[in-house]
């Protein structure tokens, strides 16, 4: 029997294609990515078979299982204008730095009075505050959510008209109202929020859901 000779070759292999691929992917992700926004509450929305995507400009109301209400609005300039209007109404003053921080912040669930402290807080501190956040007050005596909604809507409209949009382009860019609630939230809490919108003549909503696996076909 002849002895099996292992071929003697260098163990290093040409890694160039792999590097090419890796950098291609890195570039792709760098250019296409949008960073995940910091969410103060974890909400597990129910699933549905609907596959409509969330529109670009949205006002997002998040409701967690305990019924706490959180608010978010897209657009830096719009957020700033909204906070200016709310600040005027509630006589809570914000510094220039606070305006800037607020305009790039994500979802929040604080009463207006507690907002300056919340904006000033650092990342870790803010997370702690989020855990004990009371949510935005929605009861009829102190309905801050209604003010956020109206001022947010007003700020967005002013922003769009300043950009000179008209007709179809305006219709597409106009703010939409999204509601993200946990599946285990009582519907009553969701309805309360929806009623606040309805009282202000806003009737169309995008309810955020997870996509259900598998096609939803009709039984034959």
């Amino acid at each position: 029997m002849p002895k099996i000779k292992m071929p003697r070759s260098s163990p290093s292999l040409d890694m160039t294609p792999m590097v090419d691929l890796a950098f291609l992917l890195v570039t792709f992700f760098m250019l296409t990515s949008k960073f995940r926004a910091n969410e103060p509450v974890v909400v597990d929305p129910p699933s549905s078979s609907s596959n409509i995507l969330l529109p670009e400009n949205v006002m997002l109301i998040t409701i967690d299982t305990a019924g706490r209400v959180f608010f978010d609005l897209t657009g830096k300039d719009v957020r700033r204008k909204m906070l200016e209007a709310v600040s005027g109404k509630y006589k809570v003053n914000f510094t220039e730095q606070q305006y800037q921080r607020f305009s790039v912040m994500g979802t929040f669930g604080m009463p207006v009075a507690a907002l300056p402290n919340y904006i000033n807080a650092g990342e870790k501190e803010r997370m702690k505050m989020d855990a004990g956040a009371p949510g935005i007050p929605i009861d009829s005596a102190n309905n801050e959510l209604a003010d956020w909604i109206m001022q947010g809507y007003g700020a967005s409209e002013r922003d769009l008209s300043a950009k000179g949009l008209e007709g179809k382009a305006l219709k597409e860019r106009r703010i939409r109202y999204a509601i993200k609630a946990d599946g285990q939230t009582n519907y009553l809490k969701v309805r309360k929020v929806i009623d606040i919108f309805r009282e202000r003549e806003i009737f169309q909503f995008n309810l955020i859901t997870n996509l259900k696996g598998g096609p939803a076909d009709l039984p034959k």
């Binding site: 290093s12 890694m15 160039t16 792999m18 590097v19 890796a22 950098f23 992917l25 890195v26 992700f29 760098m30 296409t32 990515s33 949008k34 960073f35 995940r36 929305p45 129910p46 549905s48 078979s49 609907s50 596959n51 409509i52 995507l53 969330l54 999204a178 993200k180 609630a181 946990d182 599946g183 285990q184 939230t185 009582n186 519907y187 009553l188 809490k189 969701v190 309805r191 929806i194 009623d195 919108f197 309805r198 009282e199 003549e201 009737f203 169309q204 909503f205 995008n206 309810l207 955020i208 859901t209 997870n210 996509l211 259900k212 939803a216 009709l218 039984p219």
Partner: protein, 207 residues
């Protein structure tokens, strides 16, 4: 300027400096490490897909009784949603406390969906007809959509009223609305349950 001394053996003896004949390969392992590290970071830190949403239009609030729409009892269907996940009850027509019986339906394919399709079969027939026309390129995309929503909102199409308790979970409401969308039910509304219906539901669930 910066200069690299490559040892002192060839210095000062007038020998010609020769470039080293080394391999042109460089060790790429650290670069690969870095590339994959970045790749992993971007994959984990990005939101790949936008969340999906369900569009819904709520009716305007009506306070005055005379402004309320008169509904045809023959086309009316009501779903009562209880506090627990499996408590979905159905009754057709108008509610009468002594004669109306509640039928329990489940949220499976053979439960609620079958019922909705059965009730909505006239509309579904029209939509199916439109779909075949659309597939055969007899009608355009916009026409198809327009005619489909017209068929859904037809005067003779059945409508469903979804009634909820204070304790009803959001998940069931979404599940039921989703079934409506799947079965092409165009006319539905989510409202509160009346006291009489609450009693009937309690009787049914034995609570």
């Amino acid at each position: 300027m910066a200069e690299v001394n490559s040892g002192g053996d060839d210095g000062g003896k007038g020998k010609k400096k020769r470039p080293k004949k080394g391999s042109t390969r460089i060790d790429m392992t650290p670069m690969v490490d870095l590339a994959f590290l970045l790749l992993t970071f971007f994959i984990l830190a990005t939101t790949l897909s936008k969340p999906k949403t369900m569009e819904i239009v709520y009716p305007k609030k009506v306070d005055k009784v005379e402004d309320k729409m008169e509904l045809n009892d023959k086309l009316a269907n009501t779903l009562l949603l209880g506090a627990k996940d499996d408590q979905v009850y159905f009754y057709p027509g108008k509610f009468k406390l002594d004669t109306t019986t509640l039928d329990k339906v489940d949220l499976s394919k053979d439960g609620l969906r079958k019922l909705l399709i059965e009730r909505n079969k006239n509309v579904l027939a029209v939509i199916k007809d439109l779909e075949t026309k659309y597939i055969n390129h007899q009608i355009a995309d916009s026409t198809f959509k327009r005619l489909r929503s017209k068929a859904k909102g037809d005067d003779k199409a059945p409508f469903f009223i979804v009634k909820t308790l204070d304790k009803t979970k959001y998940k069931i409401v979404i599940d039921v609305i989703d079934e409506m969308n799947i079965s092409n039910v165009g006319k539905y509304a989510v409202v509160d349950m009346s006291e009489a219906e609450k009693i009937a539901l309690k009787r049914e669930t034995k609570e």
